[in-house]
């Protein structure tokens, strides 16, 4: 295996805007909100930035293409800015680009910033109709909830889980995230919700009800990365370093070949395995302190915890019901509320997850602070179960 990214890059500073229906802000204001916090936290001058990666996912309702929107909004010193888009994994992609720039020695300080302004469409949910002129002629006219609802039907079929048991388990996933989100002042949804409310909510795409779907939010998040040596030289304590960055992209076998049964994420299994190797983690269930995973839908989180090799395949729903992933469980998952409650501004989500890991490891997570976490793992899933991008990042204390 290649030498990998482990401990070659440190997070110097991070920032995150308040997420939510930000009727007061456009993408530009959100970028600045996250950036100001990030730059201050890093403690460097803007002119020291040598490269930037900028992530957004839905150009059609957004700032447009290229690196110009970021450079112009922040008045960056004419440095390289790369615009990245990889659906819901876009934020982690921006972070990966910045980390690789630092690890290669091409830059001492690199910025990764992700933003999404979704609440200017005039309707709920995500805009549809992307994919090009050929897709428009044949691919089923589905939505995100409709695609992920099928993960639930296929999971039940593959593992013989009853509709009632699954509904309870995915209900618990959302219940737990609402409990956590209630303690996060930057979260979109900050209200704890009763299980009964969750289970009786209107159906969006069967079997997924309203509370099985994450929020559609506006927001931005940013990171400035450097080498651990520079971070130390700048007097930083409690340094958080990058342990692994992995990405796995579908090649059409799930969507086009009958070997996949629809009940799991092929790419996540691959990306996480590589990430554990890169980070030197032998037993993830014992070594990872906390997770922020892509809970675009409750069932996505449940299945993802199996594909990250934490829960046994087909048994994840039992771990969920046992409270294994609750705030007081063995490995808390979505301690900041997750996509479900913190919100899901697509281009920012990967960086928002890393922001929470960064705060937790440094002991700065306020009311939701976990006890002494060492290793945090984030996961994004762009696309649909049948065709997707799975990105995984592991960060931890630099020792």
């Amino acid at each position: 295996m290649a030498r990998g990214i482990k401990d070659k890059v440190a997070i110097l500073g991070m920032g995150c805007s308040k997420f939510g229906e930000r009727w007061d802000s456009g993408a530009e204001e959100l970028m600045l909100e996250a950036y100001k916090e990030c730059l201050k936290d890093a403690g460097i001058d803007q002119n020291q930035l040598q490269a930037a990666w900028f992530s957004t996912a839905i150009d059609e309702v957004h700032v447009g293409k290229s690196g110009i929107p970021l450079s112009t909004t922040l008045r960056l010193p004419n440095i390289p800015v790369t615009h990245v888009e990889n659906m819901c994994a876009s934020g982690t992609e921006a972070f990966r680009g910045a980390c690789y720039a630092v690890a290669s020695g091409a830059a001492d300080f690199a910025l990764a910033l992700g933003v999404e302004k979704l609440k200017d469409t005039g309707y709920g949910g995500l805009p549809g109709g992307r994919g090009g002129p050929l897709q428009a002629l044949w691919n089923a006219s589905g939505t995100a909830p409709g695609n992920f609802a099928q993960l639930a039907t296929a999971y039940m079929t593959a593992h013989g889980v009853s509709g009632e048991d699954l509904k309870k388990a995915i209900g618990h996933v959302s219940w737990k995230s609402h409990q956590n989100g209630a303690k996060n002042p930057k979260a979109h949804l900050q209200k704890a919700v009763e299980m009964e409310t969750i289970l009786n909510a209107p159906m969006i795409a069967s079997p997924l009800g309203l509370f099985d779907c994450c929020g559609v939010s506006d927001g931005a998040a940013a990171a400035i990365v450097t080498t651990p040596e520079i971070a130390k030289a700048l007097g930083k304590k409690d340094i958080v370093s990058v342990k692994a960055l992995q990405l796995s992209v579908s090649n059409g076998s799930e969507s086009g070949h009958n070997s996949w049964d629809g009940s799991y994420f092929h790419t996540t299994r691959i990306a996480s395995k590589k990430a554990y190797e890169e980070a030197g983690i032998k037993s993830p269930r014992d070594e990872v302190s906390m997770f922020e995973v892509h809970d675009c839908f409750s069932v996505t989180e449940l299945v993802t915890m199996e594909d990250l090799h934490i829960s046994e395949t087909g048994k994840g729903w039992k771990d969920v019901l046992d409270g294994f992933y609750d705030a007081d469980g063995k490995i808390p998952c979505q301690i900041d509320g997750g996509l479900k409650c913190f919100g899901h501004p697509i281009g920012a989500s990967g960086l928002r997850m890393l922001y929470e890991m960064y705060l937790q490891i440094q002991g700065k997570a306020g009311a939701r602070q976990l006890k002494n976490p060492r290793i945090g793992m984030t996961h994004n899933l762009g696309g649909a179960p049948r065709e997707n991008i799975s990105s995984v990042a592991i960060v931890g204390r630099y020792e």
Binding site: A136, L137, A140, P145, G146, Q150, M203, N251, S253, H257
Partner: protein
């Protein structure tokens, strides 16, 4: 000296008599190189019995120089034909093609069908052409269907019968014609026509061999009698008083036409077993029959209670209905009224009973999904200014260039089958989708429209725009291989389950109302 030890040069020098004296056993002992060495004259001298003795390996050795020289009595067997490659089939002449059995035709791989010259494809006789499977037909290349002419006929309620007359006349010389008639007429809310009209279509294949109903004769009159009209700018018909249409139109125009039609066929009214005459006035066909001396029992049901009047298609729809139960020797008279009259008289043959089972009118009526909600009827027909939501506003512009480039895939549901690993896949792509194969440029076209499939996963989506919410869709898998995320239709929550069997059906997918209504069609999955 044994024949089997002859060199290639010696084989090519064999005389016609020597070739003709070869026994089947001797011939079948030839090596491939020896077969390939037989001279053109020698090939021409082979009898059908000798050719039948050739193994598939030997047949594979035949050269393109040899193939056109086979004598006209030679007919290859199915296994022999299937062993031939594209280059060899491309060398077939019309005689060899004419001798291919319909069983062998149906067994050809799509690549083999595509190997025939356009001339050979048009030379297939009716039985051979009729044996082509849907998969094979959809794999025909642009060059192979180049000789096909298509004519649109419209503008009158007798457009269907006029097309049928044209099709029957065009097929007299042996080349089959397909006649299809369809109509979907809009009617104002709460109008009588809303009750009377139905949407429907019928198709008939005209030719000279194995006919199920023989045309006895036909007769037409043309008159500019305008009983109703639909202006270019209008969605709806506008009709004159029914009593006037009955007395001055039907009663004065139709009986003389029937009389002339019967005379042309040398028949009397009493000879007619089935009298087909669409009309919105149920008493009129009975009156016309009576005036022509046709028995009241012969007058066919207008299908008004079950289907409605399908306009320009209705005479043909009723003809299909009659043929489903007609017996050999029955005489069918078809009368269509509209700016004149078309009269056709058929005699049902014994072939009708032998016709392979098809859906027909009764089959389609049985397959229907009934909708009793009148509001839905209005909404589906765009008769109500309903709020479709912003998700209905997504642009439905169709890239016509893409549609043309991918017409096999979109209109034919033609996927691919990998020559290396055998995996069937949709869409057909340049790199095989099988994770253990990934061969490049390895796929033959593979038509999937006629295949059954099964639901792997599904949902009922209340967020997506659907004219009939919730939108049902899911991953369907074909047992042969291949899968894709498909929209479902004619489905409800009791029918859609994991593992449920589905069939593919060609439906409207989108309507580009922003640009005047270009309709996108594609295949949807419906419960079997």
């Amino acid at each position: 000296m044994s024949i089997s030890s002859l060199s290639a040069a010696q084989i090519s020098a064999l005389s016609v008599t020597a070739i003709q004296s070869l026994t089947a056993t001797t011939l079948s002992s030839f090596a491939s190189t020896q077969i390939a060495a037989i001279s053109a004259t020698g090939i021409g001298a082979l009898s059908n019995t000798q050719v039948a003795a050739l193994s598939t390996t030997q047949v594979k050795a035949l050269t393109t120089t040899q193939i056109p020289n086979f004598s006209s009595e030679v007919s290859f067997s199915s296994p022999q034909l299937l062993a031939l490659n594209q280059v060899q089939l491309g060398a077939f002449n019309s005689t060899l093609v004419a001798n291919i059995s319909s069983t062998a035709v149906a067994a050809f791989a799509t690549t083999q069908i595509q190997a025939f010259t356009a001339a050979n494809i048009s030379a297939l006789d009716e039985t051979q052409a009729g044996a082509l499977t849907a998969t094979q037909i959809s794999s025909l290349t642009t060059a192979q269907v180049a000789g096909l002419s298509a004519t649109d006929i419209g503008g009158s309620l007798k457009a269907g019968t006029s097309a049928l007359i044209a099709g029957l006349n065009a097929s007299k010389d042996g080349a089959p014609s397909l006649v299809a008639a369809a109509d979907k007429r809009m009617a104002r809310v709460a109008s009588a026509n809303e009750l009377n009209y139905g949407d429907g279509a019928a198709a008939l294949l005209c030719g000279t061999e194995n006919v199920i109903a023989k045309l006895v004769g036909h007769h037409s009159v043309s008159m500019d009698f305008v009983d109703h009209f639909r202006g270019e700018e209008s969605e709806f018909d506008y009709g004159w008083e029914e009593r006037w249409i009955r007395d001055e139109g039907y009663s004065k125009i139709v009986p003389p036409a029937i009389k002339a039609g019967l005379a042309a066929c040398k028949l009397k009214g009493a000879d007619i077993t089935h009298f087909i005459m669409p009309s919105l006035m149920p008493a009129v066909p009975k009156l016309m029959a009576k005036m022509a001396g046709i028995g009241e029992g012969a007058v066919r049901d207008l299908l008004g209670a079950s289907l409605g009047d399908t306009g320009a298609a209705h005479a043909l729809v009723m003809l299909v209905d009659a043929l489903e139960s007609a017996k050999a020797g029955d005489k069918i008279m078809v009368v269509a009224f509209g700016q004149g009259v078309d009269i056709l008289v058929f005699e049902v043959t014994a072939e009708n009973a032998k016709l392979a089972k098809r859906k027909g009118l009764s089959g389609w009526m049985a397959r229907r999904k009934e909708e009793k909600n009148y509001m839905k009827f209005l909404a589906f027909n765009d008769m109500l200014p309903i709020d479709k939501g912003m998700r209905a506003e997504f642009d439905k512009k169709t890239a016509l260039s893409v549609l043309w480039r991918k017409r096999d895939m979109i209109y034919g549901l033609v996927g691919g089958k990998c020559k290396v690993c055998g995996t069937v896949q949709f869409p057909r792509s340049q790199v095989c989708v099988n994770p253990n194969c990934h061969a490049i440029d390895s796929q033959d076209p593979y038509a999937m429209a006629g295949l059954e499939c099964a639901v792997m996963s599904f949902t009922a989506d209340s967020l997506v725009y659907s004219p009939d919410p919730p939108g049902y869709y899911g991953m369907i898998t074909f047992p042969e291989g291949g899968r894709f995320m498909a929209d479902f239709t004619d489905s409800d929550k009791d029918q859609v389950k994991v593992g449920a069997k589905m069939r593919m059906t060609f439906r409207i997918r989108d309507n580009d109302t922003m640009r005047g209504g270009f309709k996108r069609y594609f295949w949807k999955a419906a419960p079997v």
